[in-house]
């Protein structure tokens, strides 16, 4: 299979061609030529467009494909299709399926389901068996299959379990991922304590529930000297805490959900369940701090936290609706419209920085190397509709909206996918 990408600006930071506009010829997934102009052969598929960019393929650290157990909301195929259309070549899948992904057998099932897809699926292994928070799952067995991140997703992990998990992985490697939320404080809360809770009467999930657990887990990290990643930080205080921990040299990384970069608590005043997310949307000052944290490197990754929900979970009162929304397919378009950092920096976060957390190797864009890359532009307009939504669920805040910035193609594992 031959593909020629015409006049594309190379935004791969470790490539010798960084910043240059070139033609790139790809045969069977490998780069054969990078030149100013390459003429296409008859059987070559040509990708061309105005102001195209190519970067190392993007990585998402957290998406829920609901498979196995809830395939009516999403399955591996539909989830990966949505990811490819969103420009991702690697996606991490949360273990909170039914059954829970807490052993080698389940990992292998996921790898098999995703084997032939252009997007590489990386299962996140559960820290505890069945996410019950009681006893450690077989972390090494899962690591041996290729798992690098371990998490009980949005379930609670008590300090004792977190401590033992952090120590145990030091025998082999990987990283413990914790969603910081002290449930004794947040309780049944579902919106930010502040404008959202005060004006809607909905139960509050104060940011101190997040920061108090970050403080706890940073203490555990200092004690164990292990590797820790915080999932979905949302408040200004959290950014400060992690910034200081990094300055002290701890092996800590963190990510922010795209929701918390795009939206703020005002979005909740009309009880739209598409904005019911965990962590909750917070105040403008928090959003400012999150962008600043991305800019100065405190925050390492931006994740989709793609959470498909069916109408049984969305067509009801806010209190009873599920948490989450879908973001994979619209991720880049919606992100650049709100982005407060340079494009090159944003792309570096989506590609290299996130790869480093997950331990995903990458060969730079160079002749002879396999291509793992995303081709995109920042100006084309497209309409996101229920008809072209590739996810099985429709719980997106962007349904029926025109978006700007388009993915043209993704390349990975010897495959490629052209995004219409």
């Amino acid at each position: 299979m031959k593909v020629l990408i015409k006049q594309v600006k190379i935004l791969d930071h470790i490539s010798d061609y960084y910043g240059q506009v070139k033609d790139i010829n790809v045969v069977d997934g490998k780069i054969t030529h990078i030149e100013d102009q390459i003429s296409a052969e008859d059987d070559t598929h040509i990708i061309q467009g105005e102001s195209l960019f190519i970067s190392s393929g993007w990585v998402d650290l957290r998406a829920d494909f609901c498979d196995p157990g809830f395939e009516h909301k999403e399955d591996i195929q539909s989830g990966l299709d949505a990811a490819a259309a969103g420009g991702f070549t690697h996606v991490h899948n949360v273990p909170s399926t039914f059954p829970v992904v807490d052993n080698k057998g389940h990992i292998q099932y996921l790898f098999q389901q995703a084997a032939s897809h252009v997007v590489h699926l990386h299962p996140i292994g559960a820290i505890t068996k069945e996410l019950k928070g009681e006893s450690l799952a077989e972390l090494y067995d899962m690591y041996s299959c290729g798992v690098r991140l371990f998490s009980d997703d949005q379930k609670a992990v008590n300090a004792g379990i977190a401590l033992r998990a952090m120590r145990y992985i030091q025998n082999f490697g990987g990283r413990i991922v914790i969603y910081p939320n002290d449930r004794s404080i947040s309780g049944e809360g579902m919106v930010n304590e502040g404008l959202a809770s005060t004006r809607t009467g909905l139960k509050a999930m104060p940011s101190i529930a997040e920061t108090i657990q970050i403080q706890r887990d940073l203490s555990l990290l200092a004690y164990t000297e292990s590797a820790l990643h915080f999932a979905g930080i949302s408040s200004a205080e959290s950014v400060d805490l992690i910034r200081k921990a990094k300055q002290m040299g701890h092996n800590v990384t963190c990510d922010v959900h795209i929701d918390n970069l795009l939206f703020k608590e005002e979005n909740l005043l009309d009880f739209d369940v598409n904005y019911k997310v965990k962590p909750p949307l917070r105040a403008e000052k928090d959003r400012d701090a999150l962008w600043e944290g991305l800019n100065d490197g405190t925050i390492d990754a931006i994740v989709s936290n793609h959470r498909p929900l069916d109408t049984e979970e969305t067509e009801l009162e806010f209190d009873h609706a599920g948490f989450g929304n879908i973001h994979l397919q619209t991720f880049f378009s919606t992100l650049i419209s709100e982005s407060r950092i340079e494009l090159a920096q944003l792309i570096a976060i989506l590609s290299h920085k996130t790869r480093a957390i997950a331990g995903i190797n990458y060969a730079p864009i160079a002749i002879g190397n396999a291509l793992d890359a995303t081709v995109f532009d920042t100006h084309s307009k497209w309409f996101f509709s229920p008809e072209n939504c590739l996810s099985k669920s429709r719980n997106s805040p962007f349904i029926n909206q025109e978006l700007t910035g388009k993915i043209h193609a993704v390349f990975n594992r010897g495959h490629f996918s052209i995004i219409p």
């Binding site: 005060t198 909905l202 067509e315 009801l316 009162e317 806010f318």
Partner: protein, 310 residues
């Protein structure tokens, strides 16, 4: 006749000052009607109203039903308590039933915040929020402000303190919006655990000392302690609550001015206020009840005026 700027009454937040004044003027007329020997007008003979109460209520339901009947509307009642129905199912199912029954207007009380807004997106009928969880209770706030206006001549410039469980109260939020839109100054007073941390952002004063609050105010609205809405413990016992925030006659008489005492009912006598305070000349609790019917007639009448009728 003046029209409301909204198509439904889901909360005071959506109303303009002019809307509130229009409702008051209309209520004035209806208050005369309900004090006549024949307490009924034929205005809504062709209108069908469904009262959907997903949460227990005696007074509000009675008040709405009376208001509807005095306007000659056809009334159907539906009650279901929260515990007997599976979460989420009832509302959407009921919504579909309403659609088939060709109901013109729905009055709904529901335990979940935002339920009334949810309904407006799903059905064509006019929706009146009769209390949605801990969010809003607009007709209560309207009748409270109306009663202040009746007693003191005006709401603008008056100082009103709302005392009690603010965090679980839909009455408090609606009252704050209504009083502020009418130009009153508002303070909330109660135990620190029952006052939202960021309530000050709404432009209200905050006090945790009842005497201090009463000395400041012209009107004290003593809210009912909503034990049923507390999923975790916010104060140790009602006894302690009443020691710190209960209004008794001794305290009332020790103030250097005559303040007006209100209560949305039903009263926990001896908790928020003692019996002698509730029955005193300064209390306008029964006026509130009477005004409730007039205000609800006004709201129903004004929204019904927007319905296309042949």
């Amino acid at each position: 006749m003046e029209q409301l700027s909204v198509g439904h009454l889901t909360g005071i937040r959506d109303l303009t000052r002019e809307d509130i004044l229009t409702i008051f003027q209309t209520a004035d007329a209806f208050k005369q009607v309900i004090n006549r020997p024949i307490k009924k007008v034929p205005s809504l003979r062709d209108i069908t109203i469904a009262n959907l109460f997903f949460e227990n209520s005696t007074r509000t339901k009675l008040s709405f039903e009376l208001a509807e009947k005095r306007l000659s509307a056809d009334v159907v009642n539906f009650s279901a308590s929260g515990s007997s129905v599976k979460k989420g199912e009832t509302l959407i199912d009921t919504v579909n039933n309403i659609l088939s029954m060709k109901v013109d207007m729905v009055v709904m009380r529901h335990p979940n915040p935002g339920a009334a807004q949810f309904l407006t997106k799903k059905i064509k009928a006019k929706v009146i929020n009769a209390g949605d969880g801990t969010h809003e209770h607009p007709t209560q706030a309207l009748l409270d402000a109306y009663s202040i206006r009746e007693k003191l001549g005006e709401v603008a410039g008056k100082k009103v303190v709302i005392v009690g469980d603010i965090i679980h109260s839909r009455v408090a939020l609606s009252n704050i919006y209504a009083l502020q839109k009418l130009g009153a100054e508002v303070m909330v007073c109660g135990p620190t655990t029952l006052i939202p941390k960021y309530i000050g952002d709404l432009g209200v004063k905050v006090s945790h000392n009842l005497r201090e609050a009463l000395e400041w105010c012209d009107v004290a609205n003593m809210l009912r302690i909503q034990l049923e809405r507390q999923d975790i413990q916010f104060f140790p016992t009602l006894r302690e609550y009443s020691q710190l925030f209960g209004l008794n006659k001794t305290l009332l008489d020790s103030l250097d001015k005559e303040i007006v005492v209100m209560h949305p009912g039903p009263i926990n006598r001896g908790v928020e206020i003692t019996s002698d305070v509730a029955d005193s000349q300064q209390a306008i609790i029964l006026n509130q009840v009477e005004n409730g019917v007039a205000i609800r007639m006004a709201v129903i009448y004004l929204l019904a005026a927007q319905i296309e009728r042949n």
